[in-house]
């Protein structure tokens, strides 16, 4: 039905809020990234100085490198573990819903809660290392969280723990939707279960792989809370991510233009991952 004035009027506040507070603010931040803003926004144009400075900062390069390590491992492990759990649960196991609930409940928790729990679990003084020592395995050593070369892997562990169940649920939904005729045909041909998964079922899960990748990649780029609660960026700056960098430079180091520039790059990163996906999803929805 063609919209009269009432529906148009009623959707206007939402439209304005989204246009202003999302897209208007994005443009404002992009503009700020081309100024010399420090403690407060300063609207005088300064060209790409903030970006030049950003790329020259060791803190930024470390943050970016950390994101590379964190995102690739996190996406890879969460997808592999999620798919494995989904396949295992798909074997008509007893108490299926119980297992599913257990694997998925961390998604209901705040990253601050997850970070707090893992912070002490991974702490050599009280956590797993200490526990195994008191149980008699005195040479056991696990102090990654105190080691600036290894601490980023602790962030991966906690993030994987939190989101694997979600990936599992996505794959499980995909597994339940596969074409049964092909599976039955393969079975009649005498294919083994693992062969059926490898050659018939998993190739049909392409869309789920793409969805899971997009969701995980965008979560990785946005990750902030977990790092703050787990390591607070440390030891030193060894677990800084671009999100931590942005907050630090904008709000505590009074380099607002540099902070703005870093958030623009975060947005670009997410745009590259998400926009093609949304575009194809919307087209699919439109054309059935």
């Amino acid at each position: 039905m063609k919209a009269g004035w009432l529906p148009k009027l009623l959707i206007t506040p939402s439209a304005l809020l989204v246009l202003v507070c999302v897209y208007g603010y994005i443009m404002f931040t992009v503009y700020l990234s081309f100024t010399a803003s420090t403690l407060l926004p300063n609207l005088e144009w300064a060209g790409e100085a903030a970006y030049t400075r950003l790329f020259s900062l060791e803190n930024w390069n470390v943050s970016l490198g950390n994101l590379g390590v964190f995102a690739s491992l996190y996406i890879l492990v969460a997808m592999a573990a999620g798919l494995a759990l989904a396949v295992l649960i798909d074997q008509k196991v007893r108490a299926e819903s119980g297992f599913r609930s257990i694997f998925l409940y961390p998604m209901a928790l705040s990253f601050i809660v997850t970070g707090t729990a893992w912070k002490w679990l991974l702490d050599p003084g009280v956590g797993l290392e200490h526990t195994l020592h008191t149980l008699g395995w005195e040479t056991f050593s696990f102090s990654w969280i105190k080691d600036s070369d290894m601490a980023i892997y602790c962030v991966v562990i906690a993030a994987v723990w939190q989101t694997t169940g979600f990936v599992m649920a996505m794959f499980l939904a995909g597994l339940r939707g596969v074409d049964h005729e092909q599976v039955n045909a393969a079975r009649l041909d005498g294919a083994k279960t693992w062969q059926i998964y490898r050659h018939v079922i998993i190739p049909q899960l392409g869309p789920v792989f793409i969805s899971a990748f997009v969701i995980l990649a965008h979560m990785a780029i946005k990750s902030y809370d977990l790092v703050i609660a787990l390591t607070n960026g440390g030891p030193g700056r060894s677990t800084w991510l671009p999100s931590v960098f942005m907050y630090q430079y904008t709000f505590t180091r009074n380099e607002m233009a540099v902070g703005a520039a870093s958030s623009v790059l975060m947005l670009l990163g997410i745009g590259v991952v998400v926009l093609p996906y949304l575009y194809s999803e919307l087209r699919k929805a439109k054309h059935g």
Binding site: V18, Y25, I102, F103, Y105, A108, V113, Y224, L278
Partner: protein, 287 residues
């Protein structure tokens, strides 16, 4: 080896893997609970997996009403209340807005409606760092900086994308005949919404409310950026409790605090996990 035995072994291995993994998933919360009920020296001297020898609720009392957070020794209680004062209005408002938008976007045709929906959809994904600076300025100008009201506003604004998505997809699959026959009977704009759509929206309302509740309860970045020590949400207060404690680290109090922060969303998950999963799925499979 005969076939029957092989499949028995495979079956046992399957359950073994699942059970061991399940333990790994439960372990952190188990550790949180048992150690929140131990005196501190038992944690330092003993192992994290053991049940308490001398049980105590003192860490819970500390975390709830005595621990030092920010300036005063108030415990998490006032921040727990802040989080509820934030979450309840923000969830109600964003759900209502989502229902209205979903209705308008599916039942009416107007220019740019698809572009508008696409714009809302993308807003779900943006890294909120990109809006922090202008939003801080806006809240300052509106006099909402450092208030729970300001956080309500922010969470509603950035929740519109999700709630609209949920209702739009639900109403897009809604039988059109019902709407059309109601219109024939003379139902107007609100008539269709109130008498036809909303009464049939219970599942999606539950999904949206649970999703928004969980998201806003767990939200940290806006809380850390836009609130002060009178208006911190619980996540920010918990982080302050855990990270700022000088001197002796009171692990048991931290665990109790973390569990207190986890209880509301865990309860929602246990009571209505099915709807939580539907929200997750709807949020991941767009369009």
């Amino acid at each position: 080896m005969d076939k029957y035995l092989a499949s028995r072994v495979a079956r046992i291995a399957l359950y073994l893997v699942l059970v061991v993994t399940a333990f790994a998933f439960i372990m952190p919360v188990y550790v949180m609970i048992v150690n929140s009920l131990k005196p501190l020296d038992e944690i330092r001297g003993g192992n994290l997996m053991a049940l308490p020898v001398s049980w105590t609720v003192e860490p819970w009392l500390m975390a709830w009403s005595k621990a030092q957070i920010g300036v005063q020794a108030t415990g998490l209680k006032p921040y727990f209340i802040n989080s509820f004062l934030l979450v309840i209005p923000a969830v109600i408002l964003s759900t209502l807005i989502g229902a209205l938008n979903g209705y308008i976007l599916t039942q009416f045709k107007f220019r740019f409606s698809e572009a508008l929906f696409a714009a809302m959809l993308f807003s779900v994904f943006i890294p909120f760092q990109i809006v922090l600076i202008p939003m801080a300025k806006t809240l300052g100008m509106l006099g909402l900086a450092g208030t729970v009201k300001g956080l309500i506003f922010v969470n509603v604004v950035y929740g519109i994308g999700f709630t609209t998505l949920f209702f739009r997809n639900y109403y897009a699959a809604f039988p059109n005949e019902l709407v059309r026959s109601a219109r024939m009977d003379g139902a107007g704009f609100f008539g269709v919404l109130m008498r036809i759509l909303l009464p049939n929206s219970a599942p999606i309302i539950v999904v949206t409310v649970i999703w928004q509740f969980t998201n806003i309860w767990n939200e940290f970045l806006f809380g850390a950026s836009f609130s002060d020590f009178t208006s911190y949400p619980l996540t920010v207060a918990l982080n302050n409790l855990v990270s700022s404690s000088t001197g002796v680290k009171e692990y048991n109090v931290h665990f109790a605090g973390a569990f207190i922060a986890a209880v509301p969303t865990l309860v929602v998950y246990l009571v209505s996990g099915k709807y939580f999963v539907r929200g997750l799925m709807a949020g991941s499979v767009k369009g």
